[in-house]
């Protein structure tokens, strides 16, 4: 029976090509607009590391000024101090932990003819690579001993390795940065988490860094920082030492805690540590430590831009207008079919049967509208990319979830729009339309 | 009052030339009740459209109240229809979304009467056809006969020079048909000129005068009477 309905639907669509085309267009435009904004929002809010996002926690300690708010009232600052980061690394009970920040370095390629160029460096600890599941093309990350010994080792991104070594296996070779030699221990494969969840203080959708070096090395050689540094009071001491011992925050801190028990244990440690620091005269504000998993942290940092949400809302309303249009078109179409319907009723079709038949037809139109709409959405996403530039390159890709969502939304919308017109058309009395007047 | 002389109506398409009316002439005086009969395809409808200024004819002259209405433009023709002619259609042609009051009101609005004037006229004619009490009802709530009566009221509301009726009982059962015909006869008795187009000879007999059209011309009624008699045989 369903096949029969499909056939009838197709014939009916064909019989009225202009009207059908208009209906498909009306739905397609609405779906196109919606899927463009839905895709961007979906990717912005997408979980970049779903298989362990609830085991990775961003750590916040409240060392801030009792007299003023840092970003938000009652919110601890969004980074930690050097003192606290080191203390946690030393003693906090976690499966894995990392402190990290960013630097801007200058890489001098071995070749004399090549000009030196700027690279972004992520300064971090050995646990970074297994914690965030970075994929390796060659070699691996470094180990805890290298951190402790402040070895000058480096992991290159795939793109950096391409640029400097032509993509070869460069493990074991050296690369010169800021006048110092670093030994390559690993080369990453393609890695571009969207958003850049591990550092949301410096551009939520930026590219990941070009090189990775041990945090302790960056500190030891006072490599230039490239991130946000916030201080609520001037350092007490002088120079770099004074800075490290100050209340200035400039470090992002993550802990991997596999179970609820581990999380509780860690939280207890944080609280105890904070109490201890209070006794030393630090942490003047009330106890306010935070552990946020990846999704929570992304929400707190408001990764999904307001503008993206506004556009989503507007395009849903836009779809509504398109649907109202579709209802009108369907009414017009079904009026012309009243003869057919009356005949079928006279021949014994019940109202529900006819209702289903015409809903199937609407579903077909919805399907067509969805397909065309996805094409329009692809166009829309390309337009978004052109407007916003390459920053959004990773936010304008359609995956299967989005494609199915688009088709589903189109069919659902078409069915919704056709409920009233179909119901009304089926009210035709069996014999009423059979006379010629 | 009404004088059509040698009216011809030719429909031309690329392939075919149809002569719907040939050299048709008709004079109607004040107070006349004329029936125009003829078989299907004889040109009755064309005559109706021309008499009612619904269509323009190819050649001939048409005078109404001494005024030549042959060459009027669309707006002028509309005005003449509005002021001088009252239509009664086979299918009643009431506007389904309007109640009886608003339906009768339609031609009066184009006339430019004041609101009070219109109200008086509408109430008067609806009363005349016996439907004043149902002024606020919709046509769908009335029987066929009642709907035709409303249509007649609408035709009379503007005090037209003549009524032009097209198969007024065509869509009615015999009982309703009789009552409508009685109404029409009464109206004529009160002095209104009536031109009625019909194919029903029994209906035609109610009129004072009969004009028979065949193949677009006025024909000798004798020829067709035999055929009709044979059909009723």
């Amino acid at each position: 029976m369903f096949n029969y309905y499909l056939k009838l639907g197709w014939l009916s669509i064909r019989r009225n090509p202009l009207l059908s085309a208009l209906m498909v267009a009306a739905i397609a435009v609405g779906i196109g607009a919606c899927m463009t904004t839905i895709t961007v929002n979906y990717l912005m809010s997408g979980n970049p590391i779903p298989h362990k996002s609830d085991q990775l926690f961003y750590v916040q300690l409240d060392n801030w000024d009792p007299n003023v708010q840092s970003d938000d009232p009652l919110e601890p600052p969004d980074q930690v101090t050097y003192t606290d980061a080191m203390a946690l690394i030393q003693s906090a009970p976690a499966f894995r932990q990392v402190a990290s920040n960013r630097s801007g370095l200058v890489l001098e390629p071995g070749d004399e003819d090549e000009l030196p160029f700027n690279v972004q460096s992520r300064n971090t600890f050995a646990d970074f690579f297994p914690m965030f599941d970075l994929p390796f093309l060659y070699g691996s990350g470094w180990d805890d001993d290298a951190d402790a010994a402040m070895e000058r080792v480096v992991v290159l991104s795939r793109e950096t390795n391409e640029r400097v070594f032509g993509g070869e296996d460069s493990v074991g070779r050296n690369v010169r940065m800021n006048g110092m030699n670093f030994r390559i221990v690993g080369v990453l494969d393609q890695w571009h988490p969207v958003p850049k969840f591990y550092d949301l203080t410096n551009g939520d959708f930026n590219d990941p860094e070009d090189v990775f070096i041990p945090f302790n090395v960056a500190i030891e050689y006072q490599l230039p920082r490239n991130g946000n540094t916030n201080c609520w009071k001037a350092p007490d001491g002088e120079g770099f030492e004074g800075f490290l011992n100050s209340e200035c925050v400039f470090i992002q801190f993550w802990a991997e805690l596999r179970t609820e028990a581990e999380k509780q244990e860690y939280m207890s440690f944080l609280d105890a540590y904070a109490e201890q620091q209070k006794l030393l005269g630090r942490f003047p504000r009330p106890l306010n430590n935070r552990l946020s998993n990846v999704v929570e942290w992304m929400k707190i940092q408001e990764v999904v831009a307001d503008d993206a949400q506004v556009m989503l809302g507007l395009s849903l309303l836009f779809l509504l207008v398109c649907l109202l249009n579709t209802i009108g078109l369907l009414l017009a179409k079904f009026l012309g079919k009243s003869g057919d319907i009356g005949l079928r009723r006279a021949l014994g079709a019940s109202k529900p049967t006819l209702f289903v038949q015409h809903m199937v037809e609407s579903g077909l139109i919805g399907l067509a509208g969805g397909v065309v709409g996805l094409g329009l959405a692809a166009l829309g996403l390309w337009g978004v990319k052109v407007l916003f530039g390459d920053d959004l390159e990773y936010l304008v890709r359609m995956d299967w979830v989005m494609i199915l969502t688009g088709i589903g939304l189109a069919i659902a919308s078409a069915l919704l729009a056709s409920i009233y017109p179909t119901w009304r058309a089926c009210q035709v009395a069996p014999a009423g339309q059979l006379k010629t007047q | 009052m009404l004088s059509m002389k040698n009216i011809s109506m030719v429909y031309r398409t690329d392939l075919v030339e149809t002569h719907a009316l040939r050299e048709f002439s008709l004079d109607v005086d004040e107070g006349d009740f004329v029936s125009v009969t003829g078989p299907s395809g004889s040109g009755k409808t064309t005559f109706l459209n021309i008499a009612g200024l619904l269509e323009q004819f190819t050649s001939g002259t048409y005078e109404l109240d001494g005024r030549d209405v042959s060459q009027l433009n669309d707006t002028e023709r509309s005005k003449v229809r509005n002021e001088k002619i009252g239509f009664i259609f086979q299918g009643f042609n009431l506007i389904p979304d309007l109640n009886l009051f608003d339906n009768v009101d339609v031609p009066l609005r184009y006339r430019g009467f004041s609101a009070g004037d219109r109200k008086r006229r509408i109430e008067r004619v609806l009363d005349m056809v016996g439907l004043a009490s149902r002024m606020k009802h919709l046509p769908s709530q009335l029987s066929g006969g009642q709907q035709q009566r409303v249509a007649i009221a609408r035709a009379l509301a503007g005090d037209p020079r003549f009524l032009l009726a097209d198969e007024p009982t065509g869509n009615l059962d015999s009982q309703m048909a009789m009552s409508v015909m009685e109404l029409i006869s009464d109206i004529n008795r009160f002095g209104t000129t009536i031109i009625m187009v019909t194919h029903d000879p029994a209906l035609a007999e109610l009129a004072g005068r009969n004009v028979h059209i065949r193949d677009g011309r006025v024909s000798d009624i004798g020829e067709d009477t035999q055929i009709v008699a044979a059909a009723h045989g």
Binding site: N67, A305, V310, L317, N325 | E55, S78, D97, D105, Y110
Partner: protein
């Protein structure tokens, strides 16, 4: 004009009218809010930065060689830059307005830890800074060469003097902004710093910051390893001089790389790119929306006219001239549009209130609503013109047809 019967007829056959009215309502709601956002963004983008933007560009210098002498490099770079023909002036700084990265501190009018400072953006300049930016000094004096010293990376003490923007003066001393001149303010809770001049306007690096007009200038060269040079050229010579400067600096000293050369125009464009894109997207959406609604009206009106062909013929037979038929449908559409825009106005306000609440958008401009309502009614009338004219051309003879 038979408004009463038109309305009563509409009431008995509401669906087509409701569909059009709803479309108009939702379109109005979207349109008004979108235009409101566009206006707000355009306003933001139009704010001047206080600089002679068209003739200014900047370039970064990052030292890397172990023997890199930053101080000597900066001194010699500046001499070379200022000596270039076509260059009006140049100086070295930590960041640039609208560049999205920079320093902020807090200044307070009284010393003390417990007092909340006012956030202010900090730029390090020398005695050539004001001239390079083309900024007006409203009161007081520019820094002299002797005022300017050298700041090491982890230094946290500040010079004695500062120049602040008028906006900062107004925030610090709301009752007497002009009196700010000569006063001491406190940085880092209790370190005094004297206001020796007030400049007309300069913007902070962050264009969406509420304090974007609050800037303080301090007389220091920075030795942070990486720095930025800001160069002002004679009018019209910027594009020609940019590659010249890049080459000059790159060749002069090999222990550093030069990168990220941008004109201020480009910097502004980048800074507001998100807003500009939003404006473009909204304009496109609104245009499309109006087009769709107009087409929807054309479609529904055509449908409605077709459905009533018999009725139209009857009216013509009863004496309606073509103009009356045209006016009927135009009037009917106007009534529907009026209902639509009335409903739409309510929706628009509701939507705006919600967006102000949720996204901190600005309230919409009062006059926007009536203009948009008028516009949509006009669009509706234009859209229905075609179908109305088709209706008017229905021949009176339709009334006598029996099929």
């Amino acid at each position: 004009m038979e408004l009463g019967p038109i309305w009563r007829a509409l009431m008995r056959n509401k669906i087509g009218a409701i569909l059009i009215a709803l479309q108009i309502a939702v379109t109005l709601a979207i349109m008004v809010n979108a235009v409101s956002i566009i206006q707000e963004r355009a306003r933001l983008m139009a704010r001047p930065s206080g600089l002679d933007e068209h003739n200014i560009f900047h370039i970064s210098s990052v030292g890397f060689a172990p023997d890199f002498n930053e101080r000597a490099t900066i001194e010699e770079d500046l001499i070379a830059l200022r000596g270039l023909p076509g260059v009006v002036d140049a100086f070295q700084s930590n960041s640039v307005p609208l560049s999205d990265g920079g320093w902020s501190m807090g200044l307070q009018t009284e010393p003390g830890e417990e007092i909340d400072g006012t956030g202010v953006a900090v730029y390090f300049i020398d005695e050539h800074g004001l001239n390079t930016y083309g900024v007006n000094l409203l009161a007081g004096e520019n820094f002299s060469a002797t005022d300017v010293d050298w700041r090491q990376r982890s230094e946290h003490e500040w010079p004695d003097k500062t120049l602040i923007t008028r906006a900062m003066a107004e925030t610090l001393f709301p009752d007497d902004p002009d009196g700010a001149l000569g006063k001491a303010v406190y940085i880092n809770d209790d370190e005094p710093i004297t206001i020796t001049g007030i400049i007309e306007q300069m913007q902070a690096p962050w264009n969406s910051w509420s304090g974007v007009e609050r800037v303080m200038l301090v007389p220091q060269h920075t030795l942070f390893g990486a720095t930025r040079y800001i160069i002002r050229t004679e009018p019209g010579r910027r594009d020609e001089l940019m590659p010249v400067v890049e080459k000059l600096l790159a060749e002069r000293e090999k222990g550093r790389i030069v990168r990220s050369m941008r004109s201020m125009d480009e910097t502004r464009m980048e800074s507001y790119r998100g807003d500009d894109s939003m404006i473009k997207m909204l304009k496109f959406t609104v245009s499309l929306l109006i087009a769709i609604t107009a087409m929807g009206i054309v479609g529904l009106a055509s449908f409605s006219v077709n459905r009533r062909t018999k009725q139209i013929g009857t009216r013509r037979a009863l004496g309606a001239p073509k103009s009356a038929i045209l006016r009927y449908f135009m009037a009917e559409n106007l009534i529907i549009s009026l209902v639509g825009v009335a409903l739409g106005a309510a929706l628009a306000i509701g939507l705006n209130m919600w967006m102000v609440e949720t996204f901190s958008l600005t309230r919409l401009n009062a006059w926007l609503l009536p203009v948009a309502m008028l516009l949509l009614c006009l669009v509706g009338q234009l859209a229905v013109l075609g179908p109305a004219r088709k209706a008017a051309s229905v021949p009176p003879a339709v009334a006598t047809r029996t099929v």
